[in-house]
């Protein structure tokens, strides 16, 4: 991506960085993103608001880009056309079926993605968290997210269901978000 220097820095290291390095790199990345991608949603540094007293002396917060649109391809939707929700995600089970959403799936439907990049104190690397939802705010089912993934990632996902993308608790928001595991980040 844009921050070539930062990435080179990373490789001359052992691939890990401190939380203050992360903060600096995140700001640099956001700045370059703005230069090269001025028309799409921007990355913002959100200072930690987890709670006043736990925000440490270290630079605490995360990088956030919300409401990135993704136009799902109708062709792909047709391939999987006869959708009978074969992956009953427990999360959705009790919610009323949103038929409007199903109908929309046959057209170019807009998927909204929120991305957060959070520093992991354990792995000392940035970790990507995301969530995805339809126009009406209904969260995307995981099989719908799968179709938005690049082919390579979709393949890895098949091979490693539990160690690539899973739902985890967002470290700051305390709610289930999807997480790309650090080992799967390249």
């Amino acid at each position: 991506m844009a921050t070539k220097e930062a990435i080179e820095d990373l490789f001359s290291w052992d691939g890990t960085l401190s939380s203050s390095d992360f903060y600096l790199a995140a700001c640099a990345f956001a700045k370059k993103w703005k230069i090269y991608n001025p028309t799409v949603p921007q990355w913002l540094w959100l200072p930690c608001s987890k709670n006043d007293w736990v925000s440490s002396h270290m630079v605490d917060g995360y990088l956030s880009m919300e409401n990135m649109f993704f136009l799902s391809s109708s062709e792909e939707e047709h391939v999987e056309g006869s959708k009978t929700r074969k992956e009953p995600e427990s999360s959705e089970k009790e919610e009323p079926f949103d038929h409007a959403t199903l109908v929309q799936n046959d057209f170019h439907e807009v998927h909204h993605y929120d991305f957060h990049i959070v520093y992991s104190a354990s792995y000392r690397v940035p970790v990507l968290y995301f969530r995805a939802y339809h126009n009406d705010g209904q969260p995307l089912m995981f099989h719908e997210i799968e179709k938005d993934l690049p082919a390579q990632s979709a393949k890895i996902l098949l091979e490693s269901k539990w160690t690539f993308i899973t739902q985890e608790e967002h470290p700051y928001l305390n709610r289930p978000w999807y997480k790309l595991h650090p080992c799967g980040t390249k």
Partner: protein
């Protein structure tokens, strides 16, 4: 195998599990299920015992099982013993929980696909711990399939011997027990570092996997019965930060040092913030490049510093550890941290600490 470890593995919480009234379709309602839940276990692992008890009364539908205590949905990936220590300030025995088979609160709880979800949550934690301890998770990643199965069975069955046998292959060095090392002669050191490691006496500065659950109170209480109830997960600060452990000559690194080191906001000038890390920090601050971005950054810093400053003035005077609970016991804060880790950690190599801190009014969550 230490005696304490045995106690931890044998530890169990008597549960009295009620089916939520909205899911009772028969009269009379089914009696509650009574079950001993292992401390190191996880609630979804109890499902095979609980489900037969209630299955005849459930309304039609698909089962998505979750547990609740006084209205709070319980996070299934937190070990049962930790949930009990955290949510029952005054231990309630039996612990009255409510089970639901319908209406999974997916906005609060991670989805659970039964035992597989729990197993992988465990393995991912183990991986994280291995990374903290060894700097890589190769040994966990490269575990053979039979070993992985064996390891997981040992947790499910609470079989400590089987666990020790498999987990020793992971070569996750436990830290040398400072306390015993000091008491015993130096020739004993190699034996204290447990059989599976051969790091006789050599101790490196390490990072220790810790999961800290903090809840704050502003009112003092003498009786745990009067402690305020945790009725919302947002009231618990979950801190997943390793303890940086530097062995200083002639100084014992205590549980107190470890806990306060994890919460510098509360305990800014505690002895644990050793000069080294302070120096590193001030260097950090000086190294901020003075280019365009720095104005942003120093503004940020300024804000944080001033917040910190105010906070530390307030808090340092009155922040007070009310309760530390690990594996159901309330260890003295002076106890050597190495002992706590080596004896009281959970099988995924994380030490789970429940902590109640009293802070001045206005600083609570």
């Amino acid at each position: 195998m230490t005696e304490a470890k045995k106690y931890v593995w044998d530890g169990a919480i008597p549960l009295q599990i009620h089916l939520h009234e909205s899911e009772v379709t028969t009269l009379p309602p089914p009696p509650p299920a009574l079950i001993l839940a292992p401390r190191i276990g996880y609630l979804p692992l109890l499902v095979s015992y609980i489900k037969p008890h209630f299955s005849s009364t459930l309304p039609p539908g698909v089962d998505t099982i979750w547990f609740e205590y006084k209205g709070l949905p319980l996070k299934w990936y937190i070990p049962t013993g930790v949930l009990f220590d955290l949510l029952c300030a005054e231990p309630e025995r039996p612990w009255n929980l409510t089970v639901h088979f319908r209406g999974y609160p997916s906005n609060i709880l991670l989805p659970c696909e039964g035992e597989d979800s729990v197993k992988w949550s465990f393995i991912n934690s183990l991986k994280e711990a291995a990374y903290l301890i060894n700097g890589n998770c190769k040994n966990v990643m490269n575990m053979s399939q039979p070993d992985q199965v064996e390891l997981w069975r040992s947790i499910v069955n609470g079989n400590l011997e089987a666990y020790l046998q498999v987990s020793s292959k992971l070569k996750l060095e436990t830290i040398e027990d400072e306390y015993t090392a000091k008491v015993n002669s130096s020739s004993m050191k190699s034996r204290q570092t447990t059989g599976e490691t051969d790091v006789a006496g050599q101790v490196k500065a390490g990072r220790i996997p810790v999961r800290l659950y903090v809840w704050t109170v502003s009112e003092d209480f003498d009786d745990l019965d009067d402690a305020p109830q945790i009725d919302n997960w947002d009231k618990v600060s979950y801190i997943n930060r390793p303890v940086e452990f530097h062995k200083a000559e002639g100084k014992c690194f205590s549980l107190n040092d470890a806990v306060k080191g994890l919460l510098p906001e509360f305990f800014p000038r505690s002895s644990v913030i050793n000069e080294e890390s302070l120096r590193a920090e001030s260097q950090d601050q000086q190294e901020i490049p003075s280019e365009d971005k720095s104005s942003n950054r120093s503004a940020e810093n300024g804000k944080e510093n001033s917040c910190d400053h105010v906070a530390s003035c307030d808090l340092s005077e009155s922040a007070e550890i009310k309760l530390v609970r690990i594996q159901g016991i309330e260890p003295k804060l002076e106890i050597p941290f190495t002992w706590v880790v080596n004896n009281l950690m959970n099988p995924e190599y994380f030490l789970h600490i429940c902590l109640c801190v009293k802070v001045p009014r206005g600083s609570t969550l």
